[in-house]
Structure formats: structure tokens, C-alpha cells
Amino acid sequence: MVNTSVNLSGLSLDNPVIPASGTFGFGYEFAELYDINILGSFSFKGTTKDARFGNPTPRIAECTSGLINSVGLQNPGVEQVIAEELPKLKQCFSKKVIANISGFSIDEYVYTCEKLDREEQVGLLEVNISCPNVHGGGMSFGTSCASAAEVTKAVKKVTTKPVYIKLSPNVTDITEIAKACEDAGADGISMINTLMGMRIDLKTKKPVIANKSGGFSGPAIFPVAVSMVYRVYDAVKIPIIGMGGISSAEDVIEMMLAGASAVEVGAANLVDPFACKKIIEALPDAMQKYGINNLQDITGGAH
């Protein structure tokens, strides 16, 4: 019998497979199809202080082996997430969830993280720093070591649960940002967020997406993610949740060999709602095939 369990800063998971924020809603659509308690955990829809409708449509553009999305963090706001979504989610998911949090100022991050940290269902906070800093000239928090560290410090001060910072790959050197987060007290790194991308419609000769650019995800970015996780694993000592185009049990193993302690599955859920279930079910056989008995032993094995 192989052992698929892994551990993230004290949060133990039956397996490393976590649906990525924004591709699994609050779980109900998937709970209609299968028992989602088989998941390691699940990162719920990116939550902000206030409710957001998000960006105008079209928000989706297809690419070779992937898609671009520009949803714009549509969510009902943290109060409603706590009052309505989390109780509903509890009906279909009994394990700890990962709270994915976004903000447009340090105060917003602090406010939302503090609220969600108090929720018993939440096992870990995943702080998305790819949002523009409205008080800092609109540059994303994740593109400078100083602002990434500032968010990390501020959030750590008001929370008790592990804080993982979700990094944007759209930076000069992601290892520097990761180190800055580690130095500021982050318990882990979650990576990578989507790559900036654009498609242009040849008929209209305009960008397909209303917001022009969006985040590119899917199998096409898997090698980019593996390479970045590999480099960040060398740069920091804190655990990494690896993501970017994971679509199979083999991809999970590869990402873990690069340095991930657990993985998130994103775009694949949108094409195949059973993607996570299939990956989890295929994992023991894939482990056996590659002579792996204890999955958590392989993290960083490629180094």
C-alpha cells in the first residue's frame, strides 16, 4: 500500500491534490458529481473585503493547451462568504479548506485574512498578491520584494493559521520575491499564479478578452511552473504548493519532484469536472509505477 498523505505546515492532507482557487467555486457544482471529501483540501474562490462583480465579458479566451481568463475576482465579499458560502460548503466538505484571499490595499488584506483566520473550517490562508495595489500606483503587490513582504508581515500579525503567499510568475526573479516573503514570516509559498496572456480575434481585430489581457493557465504553462517551483525550492526553506497546468497523477509527481509539498489543480477542472477525482484515483498506481512508497518523501527529489 502506498502512502499518498502529505503535510503543509502542520495541516495534514490525505493526498496532495487541491483544486485551485477560482476553478472550483465553493465546491457545490462538483459535490453534485462526486464526494469531494476525497480531495486533499480545496482552495475556495478568491475572496476580497467587499463584494466584486469582476471584469466585463468576454472573460475567457482559448489557447493551445490552455485558456486565458480575466474574471476579475468576482466574489460575494468576505462577510457573505462567512455567512453563506462556508456553511453551505460544510455540508459537502468536512475537511479543512484553504481560504484564498485578495486585496487592493494592505488594510483590505488584513481585514479579510483576520476574518477568515477565525473560521474553524479554514486550515490555511493562501494570500494572492497578484492584485494591483491601488494605493501604490497600481503595481501588483507581488511584483516587488518590498510590497510582497509588507503584505506578508501585515497578514501574519493578525492571523494564527499558516499563511502561504501565492506568487505571480510575471516578475523578473520569482526566487527573490519568495525569499522576501519567507523573511517576512510566510509559512509557505503557493505558486504559480497565471501568466499574463492575450489573444486577438482576427475577425474583429481586437483582443478577445474585454479587459484585453488576462491570466494564461493550463497544460501549456506546466513546464514554466515546474521550472519556477524548482528554483524557488532551492531559494527557500518553507513548503511550496505547486501549480500550473497539472492535469494527471504523473504531473503531480513531477511537480513534487521539483519541490512542491502539495499541488493545486486549476484549469483541468474546467474542462473535466472529474479531473481531481481521476488524478487522486490514479495516484497510487502512478506511485507504484515509479517506485514511490511514501509520496511526501519525493518533495524536491529532483535536486
Binding site: 477560482g22 476553478t23 472550483f24 467555486g25 457544482e29 462538483f30 453534485e32 458529481l33 474562490k45 462583480f53 469582476g54 465579458t57 468576454p58 472573460r59 475567457i60 479566451a61 482559448e62 489557447c63 493551445t64 493547451s65 490552455g66 485558456l67 481568463n69 474574471v71 468576482q74 478577445v208 493550463g218 497544460p219 484549469a267 477542472n269 474546467l270 474542462v271 473535466d272 469536472p273 472529474f274
Partner: protein, 243 residues
Amino acid sequence: MKNVLYTVQKNQQLTDSVYHMELAGDTSAITAPGQFINIKLDSLYLRRPISVYDCRDGMVSIIYKVVGKGTQLMSRLPVETKLDCLTGLGNGFDTSVSGENPVVIGGGVGVPPMYYLAKKMIAEGKSVTAILGFNTANEIFAAEEFSAIGAKTILATADGSVGVKGFVTDALQGLDYSYFYACGPEPMLKALYNNTRTSGQLSFEERMGCGFGACMGCSCKTKYGNKRICKDGPVLVKEEIIW
């Protein structure tokens, strides 16, 4: 929603760019006209959402227009091809509010879902009028099928080559109806919104990511709150629409 592996039974060209495909397999998830299926095609990442044209036990059929890579691939699929589909997606039309003599209005590729709807309401004993709008005579498809099931069928063409010259709204002039149902291009839907006397239900299109409510790729604002076209729609009631 169900994930079903369908078998292509028929893939027949109806006009220059419009095809009729019949798929054999489990149809139990399709519970209302106006729902759609989301089709996985080899080599393309996202599924292709296509509305249901007709459905009976074990057989669902779609009518689609070749507009891009996905529909082009579909048009070349031979009989016996297996297609991975998510079925029974979307809310569909509610026929319980139609009254005795509803009108169904389809424009271009908005025509197909109105067939299954008309068929259902005729089976419910209602007197159904179908207004079908096309650009020109050689783009017309499925019109005889509406007549065959007993819908009073009125054709409208933009160039006047067949039927009423003009748009579906011109064909609607003077018609007596209890309720309306519509699917077609957005300008057509908007014109109907502004030129109908009764309440109605309108089916919308949007670029989708997943097609089952997970990604928020196709959200829209309504008077009843934010809705996802794929899951809470594609059918919206007239009263909730914000243009």
C-alpha cells in the same frame, strides 16, 4: 449535469454552414428545452457549448453553425465517433408560465433550441406559433420540422427572399400571443425586449470557460443579482434583464 460519452449517429449538412448532429447515449440529465451540452473535441482545450435541438430517450440532437475551429472540427466528425460531453447544462425554458398560445422566436442559430421547446409545449396541449428569422432563403433550416409538429410557423428573412421581409419583430406585429420565448443574436433579443407586450424568456450566449458554473467566466448582472449564463442561465426572464 452528467458526463456522457455519446456516439455520433448522424452529422448532416443542412445549409452552407449549418449541420445537424444526432448523438446516441444517456439523455437523462436533459430535463428542459433550452439546455445545452458541452462537447470535448480532440486538440482543443475548452469544450464547445451547443444548445439541444431535440431530445428523446437515448438520443440528443444539435444543430450547429460552423463559425470557428471547434465547429469546423465537429462538421468533419464521421458517424460512430465517440464524443465526451457534459449534458443537461443550464436552466432551460420554463413552460409552466407560457399560457395557452405562446410564441417561440428564433433567429439564425438561435432557432434550434426553440424546436424542442415548441415540441414540449405542443405536447402540453398549447397552441404554439414559431417565428423563425434568417438572413436569406438559402440559410433557412429546420422550418419544416416546426410545421410538422404542428407549430404555426412564420418565416422572416432580412432580404425578403422568403416570408415576411424584415426581422422577427416585424413578423410579431399584430400577432396574438400569451407569452414569448426567444433565442438569437443579442440585437434581436433587445428588439424583442422592447417590442413585446407580454412577459417572456430570452436565451443568451456568452464565451464560457467551464459551462457548469465553476469559473465565473460568463457572469452577467441582472435585476435579481449576478448570474452565470452557463448555470443560472442561459435563459433569463424579461423582467430581470439589464441591457
